[in-house]
Symmetry: C2
Subunit: 106 residues, 2 copies
DNA sequence: TTGAAGTAAAACCAAATGGTGTCATATTAA
DNA sequence: TTAATATGACACCATTTGGTTTTACTTCAA
């Protein structure tokens, strides 16, 4: 396995992949289902899913001839870790994020 | 200017650029100073700084014949916004980030 | 004013990226 | 068994990316 953080940032660098991740955040989907939402071939979507999987952002579960792709929240951890380095620069902007977090963790 | 979020994620996709950003987070530097820290030509560094600037992650201030490159914390806002979408998935991991935030905002 | 320092900009190159189409394989259903 | 479905894997292509060299322009200092 290569550098984890790099794989995550690389995975997030493409807008299609970020959209796929949002979609999988709502519902787990097969490759075909994901492809149905984009004007792109299944092969292209499959490549994106591979990159997302390499970045640990999704998990793939085989079910018969289908592959269920699920969003993996833990995969975003490297991004959060990386962002923490800049904590001291954040003030009001981060405070806003903090409140949204509070709503969940309360 | 094209899509802001895309420019930010694209800027963060390269490890050299992430390293540069960390360096600029500690101290503002000229192109030459940044280049001195990497085994790479000034031209290459200049390109990276352009991408970081396009992403709004740094600001460049001319001083004589020098260009002072500064980290711009606000440039990371699109990343935070994008991450907020996944709030409901985060629990303990995000709680950790929350505590570090609390230390700053207290 | 002349030379050195700092940067900008352009031409160029190899490799990675994002897409396609095709074919093979495995599984479900008739 | 056979046909359709869902995916995997490969070859291929155009464009982008990350790097280099080279040249030119400003600005500082002697």
């Amino acid at each position: 396995m290569t550098d984890t953080a790099q794989n995550v940032f690389r995975a997030l660098a493409d807008p299609t992949r970020r959209d796929i991740l949002r979609m999988l955040g709502r519902d787990a989907m097969t490759i075909g289902q994901v492809a149905g939402q984009f004007d792109m071939t299944r092969a292209a979507i499959k490549k994106h899913l591979t990159v997302l999987n390499d970045g640990g952002l999704i998990t793939v579960e085989a079910r018969g001839r289908e592959r269920i792709n699920k969003f993996n929240p833990a995969g975003l951890a490297p991004v959060l870790s990386w962002l923490e380095y800049f904590d001291r620069f954040w003030d009001d902007r981060l405070a806003a994020l903090k409140t949204t977090i509070d709503k969940d963790t309360a």
